[in-house]
């Protein structure tokens, strides 16, 4: 027998309790990992070199207010602007509200320039540009509904009073989000009869260094007009969009804190019970020559073992689980477009494992300290 073997025997002496505690730690850390991943997805949207060049101008009052399209030509003249594209959230219903996917009316001829990281087929895009009632759809949404090029779909307007009938002319792959549908802004203007309005302007800057000055110049250009703008980076824009559903960071942070605190209580309770049951044996170990710190090390190792096993199962389980889920489930479709990648990062796994380490230490401190302090005679008296 070895000391690690002795620790293992002690850990497994009450298998049911061990399994239940392990399960609670595992599930808690699994939940923690998933929540942290969700938080990251919501608060740190993925960014590419191309997306870092994009800024978004919207109405200063709110996203719900529209801008006059006449702003576009003034923006295009501002130094540092490479391209400026109208982009309006259509938010229509395809067949049923649960079949949600993002739909935007855009300047069709500028889409490849603005979303340059996405891959478009030139022939398909040529067909898309020729047909005012055409649309280009992300591959994930194509796969989700089993669509193919040439299919006709109808979107029922909920914000805009029109129901565009669209023909799928092109598919795009790659980019940050493969679930979007883009169609001609002119077509929506024609159907809705409001040709002078749009939701936002998406602007591609000439280079990243130009962005701070560009943002300032755009907003200054429209200051004191009847439609002042608020311009921000794409990343900031997405985060602001997220903030509309509440202070997600605080909410998820609170849930995670409760999870960690509960986990510490559960594990500390288990370790206390396990050590309390063994107080006579601890006295015997001391009597035969084990000193307080050796006993402390045995208890600490057992507690660490429990917490780290739970950590590995929970954190890596979440990592593997999300990978497996991506093989079979379209997370963007399931989450109505809220989550695109839902990627458990090494940073999140390390955070979970650090919590497991802290858990292992904190949960055994009090009972281990008591066992160090307990005299052999006190322990022996408990026997008889």
């Amino acid at each position: 027998m070895t000391i690690p073997g002795f620790i293992l025997r002690n850990a497994f002496r009450n298998k049911r309790r061990l399994m239940l505690t392990l399960l609670s730690v595992t599930l808690s850390l699994f939940l923690f990992t998933m929540l942290q991943t969700a938080l990251r997805e919501l608060t740190q949207p993925a960014q590419t070199d191309e997306s870092a060049l994009r800024v978004v101008a919207r109405h200063k009052v709110s996203l719900g207010n529209v801008l006059p399209v006449k702003h576009q030509s003034r923006i295009e003249r501002i130094p540092g602007v490479h391209t400026c594209m109208k982009l309006t959230w259509f938010g229509g219903i395809y067949k049923d509200p649960k079949d949600f996917f993002p739909q935007f009316a855009v300047d069709a001829d500028k889409i490849t320039d603005i979303f340059s990281e996405a891959q478009f087929d030139p022939q398909e895009m040529a067909a898309f540009l020729k047909d005012r009632a055409a649309c280009v759809v992300g591959i994930k949404t194509m796969d989700r509904f089993g669509w193919k090029i040439g299919d006709k779909i109808t979107l029922q307007g909920t914000i805009w009073p029109c129901d565009p009938q669209l023909t799928i002319r092109a598919v795009y792959r790659g980019g940050i989000d493969e679930t979007n549908l883009f169609f001609h802004h002119e077509y929506m203007d024609e159907l809705c009869g409001k040709p002078s309005l749009c939701g936002t302007f998406w602007i591609r800057a000439e280079n990243a260094e130009a962005i701070p000055g560009l943002i300032q110049r755009i907003d200054e250009t429209f200051a004191n007009t009847d439609a002042e703008t608020k311009t921000e980076t794409e990343r900031a824009f997405v985060l602001e969009f997220v903030s509309m559903i509440g202070n997600v960071k605080v909410l998820i942070g609170s849930i995670c804190s409760v999870i960690v605190f509960t986990m510490i209580l559960v594990t500390a309770s288990t370790m206390s019970m396990a050590i309390r049951e063994r107080s006579r044996e601890i006295a015997i170990l001391k009597a035969i020559g084990y000193d307080g710190w050796q006993i402390f090390s045995l208890i600490l190792a057992e507690s660490f073992g429990l917490a780290l096993t739970g950590g590995v199962l929970g954190c890596f389980g979440a990592w593997f689980g999300t990978w497996l889920m991506f093989q079979h489930v379209n997370i963007a479709a399931v989450s109505n477009g809220m989550f695109i990648k839902f990627e458990v990062t090494p940073h999140i796994v390390v955070s979970g494992m650090l919590i497991a380490v802290v858990l292992g230490l904190v949960s055994c401190l009090a009972p281990a300290y008591s066992s160090i302090r307990m005299s052999v005679v006190t322990g022996l008296k408990e026997l008889d």
Binding site: T2, F6, F12, I288, G289, D291, V377, L380
Partner: protein, 237 residues
């Protein structure tokens, strides 16, 4: 028998504090125990015999006085030194056996050796020798629950012996055993005393058990009674 004292106790006093009241467990006890002696400590409950045994074995500390065991004043050692000293010099046998239930007889006996620098094969040799000595070589892989009370106590004696201590202390080792098993354990302690030269200190209520010792000391109200002296030595049965 070597007549050099292995235990020298001078004016040993132990007070326990219960709330505001000090209870005297031992009052100015002085005695010598020679190396190779088999001493029985007798007395009524609360007489201080277990307290005296605990102080000699280094698991409790005296309030005043001196306890020198094998030339070491155990009262001057810190907790870590004391634990190490116990591992090297004292073997414990308890009334309730106190084996670790999840470990086999072999592993229970091996426990004190895990603190030493012995290799795995050396530990194995020591454990097998100890279990052989107590007649349990064929029960090495048994868990405590698979052993009888007498066998469990034999394993406990093997655990006490495995580090080859000079001093064996036994606190009511037959208190939980039937008469037959008790006689076997006492005989075993006697053999260890006589053939292996172990100094044995036995705490007991039972005059029959005390009869196995070469000397019986009587304690009452924390004091060693005059006339505690040589007792008849019972041959192993």
């Amino acid at each position: 028998m070597n007549a050099d004292p292995i235990v020298q106790i001078r004016d040993l006093t132990k007070l326990y504090r219960h709330g505001e009241i000090d209870v005297t467990a031992l009052n100015c006890v002085s005695l010598d125990i020679a190396a190779g002696e088999f001493v029985a400590l007798m007395g009524p409950s609360g007489s201080g015999k277990s307290t005296l045994l605990h102080i000699i074995a280094g698991v409790d500390r005296a309030t005043s006085g001196q306890c020198i065991v094998q030339g070491t004043d155990v009262g001057t050692l810190n907790e870590t030194e004391l634990a190490d000293w116990r591992n090297n010099h004292v073997g414990f046998v308890f009334q309730t056996f106190n084996l670790i239930p999840v470990l086999t007889a072999f592993e229970n006996v091996e426990l004190p050796l895990l603190l030493t620098s012995l290799s795995s094969s050396e530990r194995r040799a020591h454990v097998e020798a100890a279990l052989e000595l107590v007649g349990l070589a064929d029960r090495m892989r048994h868990l405590p629950r698979q052993l009888s009370g007498g066998q469990e106590q034999r394993v406990a004696i093997a655990r006490a012996l495995v580090t080859d201590p000079t001093l064996l202390v036994a606190d009511e080792p037959t208190g939980n055993l039937d008469a037959h098993s008790a006689a076997e354990i006492l005989a075993l302690l006697q053999i260890l005393n006589r053939t292996a030269g172990k100094t044995v200190i036995l705490v007991t209520h039972d005059p029959k058990a005390a009869a196995y010792a070469s000397r019986t000391l009587h304690l009452e109200k924390g004091e060693l009674l005059n006339g505690s002296s040589q007792s008849s030595v019972v041959s192993s049965q």
